[in-house]
């Protein structure tokens, strides 16, 4: 009797869960639902951001000005950002600073809603290429507001490596065995593909994010040879900072943020963009389709688009603003920084960087010959073991 009751209970529980799960929705991009004006703030704003993207020095003044208290959640990878924005059915976070390899997934998954750029006064001052780039704009709707952009760099310890490496080959060089660190991120495959596109033209790689199966295999083979040389695949920027500080790594793929932080700490490091060029990021602020703090979100987007905040962010992280007017503010805060981060020649600089985007099965030519991001993720697990 007792056993049978347990069995009933278990079956009941399983049925209940199956029912709860069977309500499903087909994802499609969210339709516009623009506010007429930016109204009174809701008092809070939950954001998902890259480390270094929501520092007190510009968040505190915003909170004081608008009364919107900013709750910050830092993510270590684009995948994590996508997962956080989808968590609990979406709506737990209002804004995300998504890079180009996350933005399309969020749009097509119906996780973010179009933004009315008329409510963002500084939008008119943006770099023309970043007003409606394909990674955040679909069918003329702005699902993302461009923020900052820049290249992924090669960072090295200047005490151990006197001369700046000229090629990404340094990351595959056995002489640095056990001293190399690279991000724990499937998009890292594109870095290997970019290197191969220059060193092995027979593979015919034209876009590091559009790889046929043979091209992907070649990149994976290169990365598998690199794996025994790697000290650690870093998950958070702070991990890489610690690795360089403690002497565990002397060379690695990095963001300018780590170089700046380590330099500020007195560590002897420098970074460089090798001859092959670099992959990079173009980030957009994206608004959750189920945001509960739309007014605060618009206030925030308008605020971070102003030249002052854009300049502060750019200098802190080591990247280039989307707002062309930020040049003066940058030079005021750090003379020469506008030219250092190429905001003065943004139009040519932007063409040298291969911005992150989501690898898809359908290549740009419309043929289904390319490998999808899911495949990249599986390959990445194989690479790091």
């Amino acid at each position: 009797m007792k056993q049978r009751m347990t069995r009933y209970a278990v079956t009941g529980a399983m049925l209940a869960t199956a029912l709860a799960f069977s309500v499903s929705a087909i994802a499609e991009p969210a339709a516009p639902n623009y506010p007429k004006t930016i109204g009174e703030g809701e008092g809070a704003l939950n954001i998902v951001a890259w480390e270094g993207y929501a520092e007190d020095s510009w968040i505190k003044p915003f909170e004081k000005e608008t009364g919107c208290i900013v709750n910050r959640k830092y993510a270590g990878s684009s995948d994590e950002m996508v997962a956080l924005m989808r968590q609990g059915g979406g709506g737990e976070y209002d804004l995300v600073s998504a890079s180009g390899d996350a933005s399309l997934r969020l749009i097509l998954g119906g996780n973010v809603q179009p933004i009315d750029v008329k409510l963002i006064p500084d939008f008119d001052n943006f770099v023309p290429e970043l007003k409606a780039p394909p990674h955040n704009t679909l069918n003329g709707l702005h699902y993302g507001l461009s923020y900052e952009w820049g290249p992924n760099v090669l960072m090295y310890n200047t005490d151990k490596i006197k001369e700046a490496p000229k090629s990404w080959a340094a990351l595959y060089d056995p002489q640095y065995k056990g001293k190399i660190t690279v991000p724990d991120n499937p998009i890292q495959i594109a870095d290997a593909a970019l290197y191969l596109s220059k060193t092995d033209p027979s593979l015919g790689i034209t876009d590091p994010y559009e790889l046929t199966e043979a091209q992907l295999d070649a990149a994976v083979a290169l990365l598998k040879k690199q794996a025994p040389l790697v000290k650690k695949y870093w998950a958070l920027a702070s991990d890489e900072i610690e690795l360089f500080k403690n002497g565990d790594a002397i060379i690695g793929a990095s963001w300018p943020y780590q170089t700046n932080t380590l330099k500020a700490d007195g560590a002897h490091v420098a970074d460089t963009i090798p001859a092959e060029g670099a992959t990079g990021w173009a980030d957009s602020w994206m608004l959750s389709a189920k945001s509960k703090h739309v007014n605060c979100a618009y206030k925030f987007m308008a605020y971070v688009s102003t030249p002052e905040v854009q300049a502060e962010q750019a200098i802190y992280f080591g990247e280039t603003p989307a707002n062309l007017k930020a040049c003066a503010a940058m030079d005021k805060a750090d003379p020469g920084s506008c030219a250092k981060y190429h905001l003065d020649d943004a139009a040519t600089y932007i063409k040298q960087i291969h911005f992150w985007k989501t690898p898809q099965q359908t290549c740009a030519n419309g043929k289904a010959e390319c490998t999808s991001y899911t495949t990249w993720q599986q390959k990445w697990q194989e690479i790091k073991g």
Binding site: D79, R105, G109, A227, V230, Y233, K384
Partner: protein, 308 residues
């Protein structure tokens, strides 16, 4: 006025007391009802929160996920299990996790047994209190703090290498390797091995030691023929903790592991939190469940549950 209030209050109390007496008498006459009332909250929790979560896990393991939009596709399929069984990397990660759990368990048995034996047989009451405190104090500090501490110890310019270099040795490159994970796991779970072995040895009557000696057995023979068999359930009980805790961990591999250190838990975490492929994570998570079920069945046969 006050006396009126007092009177009303007393009446009310009297009514409540009467009602509750009636209720308890009623329950006393119907034991099934009182048992039902007592058991409903824990049983409800167990079924709807604990078992339902497991059921949801198993159900979703048979689903797939749309790679681009991240929506769950609810068609029944064995794709996930097929992918796990046919892929070298997922097999390697499962084997690595299980072997590490076994190595950590063995290490902890070897470290904990002499320690527990000393605490029971040789230490005085005051020494015993000091030793107990030493075993338990690390458990009061955060797990994360202790793992981070080890990371600093093992770093290239860390405490360990500082000592080694001052002693005239070469520094060790032990940080971010599987060796580092083995040491950290063995350290972190050691108290969970010491306590059950301690209570198992404590239960062995002292007369058995004397009898063994009186019959002419040497110390090592007493150990292998008397102490070890009687303490074995304690060892198994401890190993249940160390084995399952290692098997389910994913933070230590992230913090002190290097390339080729991913555990089952890391794959599950990557698929839930990063790749958003919950069905695959659910399928992979069933491996430790199966391993632990087998291990528990084995432990039950040895009588380990009697000392827990």
């Amino acid at each position: 006025m006050i006396s009126y209030l007092q009177e009303t209050f007393d009446k009310a109390v009297g009514r409540v007391a009467y009602q509750s007496r009636r209720l308890s008498a009623g329950l006393w006459r119907r034991p099934a009802v009182s048992a039902g009332l007592l058991l409903t909250p824990p049983l409800g929790w167990f079924i709807f929160i604990y078992l339902a979560a497991l059921a949801a896990l198993f159900i979703s393991a048979f689903w797939t996920v749309d790679s681009f939009t991240g929506e769950i596709n609810r068609h029944w399929t064995l794709t996930n299990f097929h992918a796990i069984l046919t892929s070298d990397i997922y097999r390697r990660i499962a084997v690595r996790t299980i072997l590490m759990a076994a190595a950590v368990t063995l290490t902890d048995v070897l470290l904990a047994f002499p320690f527990a034996y000393f605490m029971v047989r040789l230490a005085g009451p005051r020494q015993r209190i000091v030793l107990f405190t030493l075993v338990l104090v690390p458990l009061w500090s955060s797990y994360l703090a202790r793992v981070y501490a080890w990371r600093l110890i093992f770093a290239h310019n860390g405490a360990l290498n500082w000592v080694l270099r001052h002693l005239g040795f070469e520094g060790l490159e032990i940080g971010y390797t599987n060796w580092a994970m083995w040491i950290v796991f063995s350290y972190i779970w050691l108290p969970f091995m010491i306590m059950p072995i301690y209570s198992a040895i404590e239960r062995i009557p002292y007369s058995l030691f004397e009898a063994s000696q009186d019959l002419g057995a040497k110390a090592w023979r007493t150990f292998f023929k008397v102490i070890l068999p009687l303490a074995m359930p304690g060892v198994i009980a401890g190993s249940l903790f160390t084995f399952s805790l290692t098997l389910g961990d994913y933070i230590t591999p992230v913090l002190v592991g290097g390339p080729g250190s991913d555990f089952i838990g890391n794959v599950v975490y990557a698929n839930v939190g990063i790749a958003n492929n919950i069905p695959f994570a659910a399928a992979y998570a069933s491996i430790p469940l199966i391993v632990m079920a087998a291990y528990l069945a084995f432990a039950k046969r040895t009588g380990a549950f009697d000392v827990m």
